[in-house]
């Protein structure tokens, strides 16, 4: 995926995150569009790591607008992205099922890291509170990831390689 398209997608995700997500949220919980986009791009594309600056900047932007401390979300998403980059090497990146599995695991991991940093900074929120809300977040995020997968699958470019036959860019 081109950098331009990636930038547009992240900009749209940021805008929707700050506006439309509140409207579809249940009890204040809605999908994390930037996290979903980061998971989908990083997992599906070999050049997914190029999305890192956009993900970090957009999350930083959200932190400035809505977060208690600036940089916590950006730091967390950067760590999560690293985890996905490591994990994807062990999985079949052509299939939606591993993508959804990664999405289902990464969502609570994101929540846990976020909570840990906030806890260190003195936020009194309990870990159980974070855990209790994860099912709804996971459900929402998986739905968005699935939509992104089907929307972006057609953009995968097959690079023919003599060695193993094909590879996605």
């Amino acid at each position: 995926m081109s950098l331009k398209a990636t930038a547009i997608l992240f900009a749209a995700a940021t805008l929707f995150q700050m506006t439309l997500v509140d409207l579809i949220s249940i009890a204040g919980q809605g999908p994390n569009l930037i996290l979903c986009l980061t998971i989908a791009l990083t997992f599906m594309f070999n050049s997914g790591y190029k999305a890192a600056p956009f993900a970090v900047i957009c999350t930083l932007f959200l932190d400035v607008g809505t977060g208690q401390y600036i940089g916590v979300g950006a730091f967390t998403i950067f760590i999560v992205m690293g985890i996905i980059l490591i994990v994807r090497k062990q999985l079949n990146v052509d299939n939606i099922k591993p993508l959804l599995a990664v999405g289902a695991i990464v969502t609570p991991v994101y929540g846990a890291i976020y909570w840990l940093i906030m806890h260190i900074l003195g936020n009194p929120m309990s870990f159980w509170y974070i855990l209790l809300h994860q099912p709804i977040y996971i459900a929402y995020n998986l739905a968005v990831i699935a939509i992104l997968y089907y929307a972006m699958a057609g953009r995968l470019k097959v690079l023919k390689r003599r060695k193993d036959g094909y590879e996605y860019e």
Partner: protein
């Protein structure tokens, strides 16, 4: 630098992490909270979000209305019924309030001498019929002989003298008001009891009369009360002098009097039996 060039990816990752760590640290040290930039962004986002929220709310209301059509319809009918009931109650209360106000006003009638403290001798009645050719010159009330009313009983309301009973029957009485030209009323001024005279209605909306003494000084605005001579007891307010003229032919001082009673808004009267 060479090491960084050789370990480019590691250096970039470490650089980003350190940078973000510093951002968090600065934010933490500045006591967190939303910055000026953050508040500005929130404000901008609120402006953008508003139309989305309105559309979303409209869609949500429409969908809710479609899904809950039957219950909403039933609820709507119940509310309409309740509304109609409340409107009826409101109208009743308004009528009662108006009636109470009328009765309070009427109660003032009993302050007139000699009726003070003798409310048992008075009958309240509603005006039920008017002669529209000369309204309130002659009118009918809904109380009659069954309540002890008889001819020439005095009729008042809270403002003053209304007239006298001209004719009565079972359930009705015809009142000849002070505006009637056949109704002679002996008066005196409230200011000075020695100034006396006789009044009668002009058949329209005022009374005319004369002073018994041509030397008596009556001025415009003087309040006139009944003198006690004739059928009307002493002390009932009749009205105020509107104009005073000297008639050269009769050598009498003529007065025009505006009645104390506002006939147009009169719904109830008290008849002293």
């Amino acid at each position: 630098m060479k090491w960084i060039e050789e370990h480019r990816i590691f250096s970039v990752i470490t650089g980003i992490i350190v940078l973000l760590f510093l951002v968090i640290l600065v934010s933490y040290l500045s006591a967190g909270g939303t910055t000026i930039v953050g508040r500005g962004m929130q404000k901008a986002m609120t402006v953008i979000e508003k139309p989305f929220a309105q559309v979303s709310s409209g869609v949500s209301d429409t969908l809710t209305g479609m899904v809950r059509y039957r219950s909403v319809k039933t609820e709507n009918e119940q509310l309409k019924e309740e509304n109609a009931k409340l409107e009826r109650q409101n109208a009743d209360l308004k009528l009662k309030k108006d009636e109470l106000s009328e009765l309070k006003k009427l109660a003032k009638s009993f302050d007139f001498q000699p009726y003070q403290g003798t409310a048992d001798d008075a009958v309240a009645a509603n005006v039920i019929e008017l002669d529209y050719s000369s309204p309130y010159v002659i009118f009918t009330v809904d109380a009659g002989k069954e309540k002890g009313i008889k001819k020439d009983d005095v009729v008042c309301n809270g403002d003053g003298l209304v007239g006298r009973v001209q004719e009565t029957g079972k359930g009705w009485s015809k009142i000849a008001s002070v505006l009637s030209d056949g109704n002679n009323i002996s008066f005196r001024t409230l200011r000075k009891g020695s100034i006396t005279g006789v009044l009668k209605g002009n058949g329209k909306n005022k009374m005319t009369g004369y002073l018994l003494s041509s030397k008596a000084r009556v001025v415009e605005g003087d309040t006139l009360i009944t003198s006690g001579v004739g059928i009307y007891p002493k002390g009932i307010r009749i009205g105020k002098v509107d104009s005073v003229e000297f008639n050269d032919n009769t050598q009498l001082k003529m007065v025009t009097v505006k009645p104390a009673v506002t006939f147009r808004s009169m719904d109830k009267v008290a008849i002293f039996i």
